[in-house]
């Protein structure tokens, strides 16, 4: 039941991001973004931080596998790595925001700023919420709540965490990759 619930949550969240991506694309075609603003995006650095986020999906998968084998000690290690990777991604996003704001690209500066910060910001918020959930799980693991248990909580949280990663595939493609190659 928990997993069905989380799949539905992920479904509704997916539609939320479809709306935001739609707004971004709509703005790009409707009023058009200033080319110099789009050129300020740093696809290489963000690409590297993206790899951190993607690998966190792998480490979470490892954590879940270890838990199923009853290996609580490895579960702890993989969970900690997952949280660290997620946090590094958020750190990268924060760094990019600061750099862009210093370049005078802000939420209220232009339609590009508006749709860029709204889309990536809501994704970042989801990563942040994921980190909170993972931290709660981690504390529960350390307290011993998951010893000798067969709970589906970790699997359920996993659905959310992988989803946040998949959303970034689309966001990264639409915001960074496509403009980089098409020069809109």
């Amino acid at each position: 039941m928990n997993k069905t619930m989380m799949k539905l949550v992920v479904g509704t969240e997916a539609m939320f991001f479809v709306s935001l991506i739609m707004a971004f694309v709509y703005m790009a075609y409707n009023s058009g973004f200033e080319p110099y603003e789009v050129s300020k995006l740093d696809i290489k650095t963000t690409g590297i931080f993206t790899l951190f986020l993607f690998s966190s999906s792998f480490t979470f998968w490892m954590a879940e596998k270890k838990y199923k084998n009853g290996n609580i000690k490895s579960l702890k290690i993989w969970l900690v790595i997952t949280i660290l990777l997620g946090a590094i991604f958020l750190f990268g996003q924060g760094k990019e925001y600061i750099r862009l704001i210093n370049e005078n690209i802000t939420l209220s500066g232009s339609v590009f700023g508006t749709s860029f910060y709204a889309l990536t910001g809501f994704h970042g918020l989801h990563v942040f919420i994921g980190l909170i959930i993972l931290s709660i799980i981690l504390i529960m693991v350390f307290v011993g709540d998951f010893n000798n248990s067969s709970s589906n909580v970790i699997g359920t949280v996993g659905i959310y965490w992988h989803f946040v990663d998949i959303v970034w595939v689309f966001v990264f493609t639409v915001v960074y990759v496509l403009p980089y190659f098409t020069k809109i």
Binding site: M1, M5, F16, A23, M27, N30, S108, V111, T114
Partner: protein, 550 residues
Amino acid sequence: MKELVEISEPKSPFPGVGVSTDQGLLQWISSVDHKMIGIMYLTVSLFFFIIGGIEALLMRTQLAWPMLHFLGPETYNQFFTMHGTTMIFLVAMPAIFGFSVYFVPLMIGANEMAFPRMNNFSLWITFFGGLLLYFSFLAGGAPDAGWFNYAPLNEKNYSSSPGIDYYAMGLLLAGIGSVTTSINIVVTVLHMRIKGMKLNKLPLFVWMVLVNSFLLIAAFPALNAALAMVLLDRQFHAHFFNTANGGSALLWQHLFWIFGHPEVYIVILPPFGILSEVFQVFSRKPIFGYSFVAASSVAIALLAFGVWVHHMFATGLGITVDSFFAASSMLIGIPTGVKIFNWLATMYGGKIKFTVSMMFAVAFLVEFTIGGLSGIAFSIVPIDWQLTDTYYVVAHLHYVFIGGTVFGLFAGLFYWFPKMSGKMLDEKLGKWFFWLFVIGFNTTFLVQHVLGMIGMPRRVFTYPDLPWYGVLNFISTSGAFLMGASSLVLVYLIYKSIKSGKTAGDDPWDAYTLEWATSSPPELKNFDELPVVHGRRPLYDWKHPGSEDE
């Protein structure tokens, strides 16, 4: 002897903590029982129905005669906005959720919802969202850009009072409540059905609520995203809808109607489900074409996402786009029409019992068809261009919302009230209520078709004394007061029936589905054991052994 299955106990929300069973109000507030939450949803709905109704009456008073100055234009704008927003988000949806969370577990033979605490959360966040919306009156002015809150009217330079911020926050909260309830319902239906109740044996009400929940889960995020964007615009000077800085006012319309058109089906599908139960029981026949009724709802749900631009024909999107959405809008009339014929065929040859519930169901067929036909008229683009933003739209949407949704909900109220309260609603007074309401409703809105065709625009606080304008508006206003009076009859009827109604018994209608297999009202634990389900009318089969094949 029939095979019986034991129904598992509701999970205790706080394991190991005992609660004394009589705590009065606190017990209601903290309850995680789906039946108490259902009744609270219905109470919230009634509460806001009275407020939204008073707003409507004040507006109709202002419009009773040309050039009145009972309400000023600013107040009038706030009232029509709040009336629409209230009736859709705080009356229709809570009423639907009330019936859904009360009856879905009972009809599928479960003792609880899948997530009882989330159920409680959904109720209260919806209610507090509503309160937040209404707090705007105290905080400097209610929202005033209409219930669909078009850009750029929703931007700070057109609406500087904080009303629209409260609109966005209030609807976000209520929206979260709606989505969580829907998720809860889907999980409940998919995982907690009694043995033997396959998906093709689900009672039709449950079918509709299930389809509807998927529809809601998919549609609401578009609204939530739009609301988040308008908040960013207003609070942080972003430029989503601000055309002066390169934003797009049309983007709001797209996002809103991607949500908004499914929304009108969200408030009609569960009443369709109620009617599918009511027609069967009071015609003493199983539903005609069960699969068609169920499948056409799925068709409606899918098509609902492909028609939103018919709200935007007047924005000039081009002939190709207009033609596509005109065609899809006509298409969606088909599965709805299929249902109407299914219900007619269910009645055909049946031993019809004209209880108040059945009277509302039959009246629904007439009124909803009128609303459906004026809707089909709108899918023809030139007619839409001529009539959009006139009183014809007001007439159309009230025929589908009241003639459809509200009539369906009243049919449900009269059908299920005995189960929820253990008391019968007085049929004689109920018939008074029915006729007053039906006559009041048609008097109010039938003439508005004409008003629209002779060119009276909607959403203006007064009008010049043109030929027929005064008379027709006066007829409409008197009808509105008749509806207002009938609502008082309804409140009195409910009060009187709870106080001194006839005891209902477990199964007063000799009905077909499992909610009537337990006591009225049901105990905290709905069922101890139930028979394995073999047919689509499990209780009927139980009462008449050997009839499963029917």
